[in-house]
């Protein structure tokens, strides 16, 4: 087996193991619930019978391992169980599955993330490379100052400034990103312009700084200096010597920042009332709707782990030292 394939398989195995352990952690959080939790959910007036029924409903009368296996198998089949919001109306109200709550919102969040990534990634890479190539120039210093400032600032600050100037003072965009599934794609994109812009600003700052650092690091290595000293053209140095070694750090930068997007999306969705999974999670946390929180957390965690795994694998596959073993 080639060394590349073996390393990749190793990383994949490790990734699957991490996913498994993370699912246990997320599931196990429910074990840490305080004893009077049922009362807190059902209200102080709940009778002992209702409390007992609720506990049976969420399965607290059975051993944790059994419940975990059941939950895990359900998750693999795309069944995350029922939301507490339906349990609250025990006997009466119709059941609401977690999937029915999450599915439409997940699509919205993916739309937002894809739109952001497709703008942010090329922009950040180009800016980062330019800043690295023209290091210590006015351009570099300006970009550095602006990005350092914008990564130090909370996302909601950026979001509200954009909202104030681009939606209220000068009504160019919609201040609230209310979108629904029956809108056309273009209409949806226009309405989510401000959340996308906010995320792009924050992500580009991070990604650009990391790209710049990675490239500078690379350009400082002796073999680049050698290539320059023997009179090679600048373009050839970049394309033939620097770039093959740059793929790995760049892939890491991109994946890390897309993972960062996951966190940023939560706050930005709340600011712009964007009907995505981040807002759903925040609402579920305030209502202490544990099954929904668990499902959202699992989705975010899986995305995060997969992106990191992807970065790992890309950096292995493009590593010239592994590809051309002596």
């Amino acid at each position: 087996m080639s060394p590349v394939l073996r390393t990749v398989l190793q990383r994949l195995g490790l990734g699957v193991l991490t996913l498994f352990v993370v699912s246990i952690i997320i599931f196990a959080t429910i074990e840490m619930l305080p004893g009077d939790f049922a009362k807190a959910i059902l209200g102080q007036s709940a009778t002992p019978e209702t409390v007992a029924a609720f506990q049976r409903e969420i399965g607290l009368d059975r051993p944790p391992v059994e419940r975990y296996v059941e939950w895990f198998v359900g998750v693999l089949r795309g069944n995350f169980g029922n939301s507490f919001s339906s349990v609250g109306a025990l006997g009466g109200g119709h059941e609401r599955t977690v999937v029915s709550l999450i599915a439409p919102r997940l699509a919205n969040t993916l739309f937002l993330a894809t739109l952001t990534a497709s703008i942010a990634v090329p922009l950040a890479l180009v800016l980062g490379m330019l800043a690295a190539l023209y290091r210590n120039s006015l351009f570099d210093r300006t970009v550095n100052f602006v990005t350092l400032t914008s990564i130090s600032v909370p996302e909601f600050f950026v979001a509200y400034i954009l909202m104030l100037f681009l939606a209220v003072r000068f009504p160019i965009f919609h201040s609230l990103a209310r979108i629904s599934s029956d809108m056309a794609l273009g209409e949806r994109a226009v309405r989510s312009a401000l959340p996308v812009m906010t995320l792009v600003l924050v992500i580009v700052a991070h990604m650009m700084r990391m790209t710049r650092a990675a490239i500078i690091n690379l350009l400082a290595s002796p073999y680049i200096e050698m290539a320059r000293l023997k009179g090679m053209s600048a373009a050839r140095v970049i394309y033939h010597h620097a770039l093959p070694n740059a793929w790995a750090p760049i892939a890491t930068v991109v994946a890390l920042n897309l993972a960062y997007l996951i966190v940023g999306v939560v706050v930005v969705e709340v600011v712009f009332v964007y009907p995505g999974i981040g807002q759903l999670m925040v609402d579920a946390v305030s209502a202490r709707d544990i099954p929904v929180v668990q499902a959202c957390a699992l989705i975010f965690a899986v995305a995060y782990i997969l992106l990191n795994l992807l970065a790992d694998i890309v950096s292995i596959v493009t590593n010239p030292r592994l590809l051309h073993r002596r």
């Binding site: 429910i30 350092l148 104030l164 650092a213 993972a259 996951i262 966190v263 709707d289 995060y304």
Partner: protein, 313 residues
């Protein structure tokens, strides 16, 4: 580092000896060694503008936070006017959604938000730093175990993990501090373990071990003094991160709870004003932003000075 120490310790001893020998010898008198305060001032004079800006801003925040009751015109949760009054002589920044003075809330917010973030960071350093150093010194299975646990904990995005734990334990200040401190200590663990690893292999640590010193001595007297500068810089960065996380959670309504004045929740409570083109809700957000930028500037300068990091960052 060691040179610095020598300089600071010697003023009385060497200075006195030199002064006594001066009249007889033909050497020029050696100027007295600088006290720590003087060398600090010397460094400050050479500090760039950004570092000065950062230091002044941080100092101002601390003063406001400490003397909040003296500085603020009204009480923290005192209802003094109608809701959403505009900026005036009486209420410099207007009033909030319940008719409380915005300026007073901002001032008290400095105390609460910065205090809680600082406490959390300190706790996170206590946990993460101690475990990291222990892992580095002990090695073998304790190190492996801690490192793997931290790996798994770090595989979940921090804000998401915090949200899950908050939904379980409920949103309160104590829970918030504990949860964020534990989650953030994973990052501190990584760093302190990594920097301590470089020191653990040195001869003087080996000597201390052979001498029979216990774990506490090795950590506190042999390793800690040598890794203090990177840890101090990290403290600044972690503080920013914790501060932003807590503000974000408060903004989401899951962090510091009303009626405590806090910048994150103030943005949330007054956000509707934005849609009328009013900048008031941006004030607390701006206060958060300004402090994090200031701390970042100071840390940048500090890193530049203490490590060989001359060009990058």
């Amino acid at each position: 580092m060691s040179v610095e120490f020598e300089k600071d310790r010697s003023p009385t001893g060497r200075g006195a000896a030199e002064a006594g020998a001066a009249p007889a010898a033909r050497f020029r008198p050696v100027p007295a060694t600088r006290t720590p305060l003087q060398s600090a001032w010397r460094e400050l004079k050479r500090a760039p503008m950004t570092a000065w800006f950062g230091l002044v801003v941080v100092a101002a925040y601390v003063v406001v936070a400490v003397f909040a009751p003296v500085v603020a015109p009204y009480g923290e949760s005192e209802v003094v006017g109608n809701q959403y009054e505009s900026w005036s002589e009486r209420f410099l920044f207007g009033t909030d959604q319940l008719g409380r003075d915005m300026l007073s809330r901002l001032i008290y917010g400095a105390r609460n938000t910065i205090g809680i973030a600082f406490l959390t960071t300190a706790l996170s350093f206590l946990i993460g730093g101690l475990l990291g150093l222990m892992a580095a010194v002990l090695g073998r299975w304790p190190d492996q175990l801690l490192a793997r646990v931290v790996d798994v904990l770090m595989a979940i995005p921090q804000l998401i993990f915090a949200l899950v734990l908050l939904s379980i334990f409920g949103a309160s200040v104590i829970n918030l501090i504990l949860i964020i401190a534990v989650l953030d200590s994973t990052r501190v663990f990584r760093l302190s373990r990594a920097v301590a690893m470089n020191v653990v292999v040195m001869d003087f640590v080996e000597a201390a071990r052979l001498q029979g010193e216990n774990l506490g001595w090795i950590i506190a007297r042999e390793i800690l003094p040598n890794i203090l500068p990177p840890l101090a810089a990290e403290f600044g960065l972690r503080f920013c991160f914790v501060f932003l996380t807590i503000s974000a959670l408060s903004f989401l309504g899951l962090g510091i709870q009303p009626p405590t004045a806090d910048w994150g929740s103030m943005v949330r409570e007054n956000a509707t004003l934005i849609t009328y083109g009013d900048v008031t809700p941006l004030l607390p957000a701006g206060a958060i932003a300004l402090l994090t930028i200031a701390v970042n500037f100071v840390v940048d300068w500090f890193l530049h000075k203490t490590s060989g990091l001359k060009d990058e960052r």
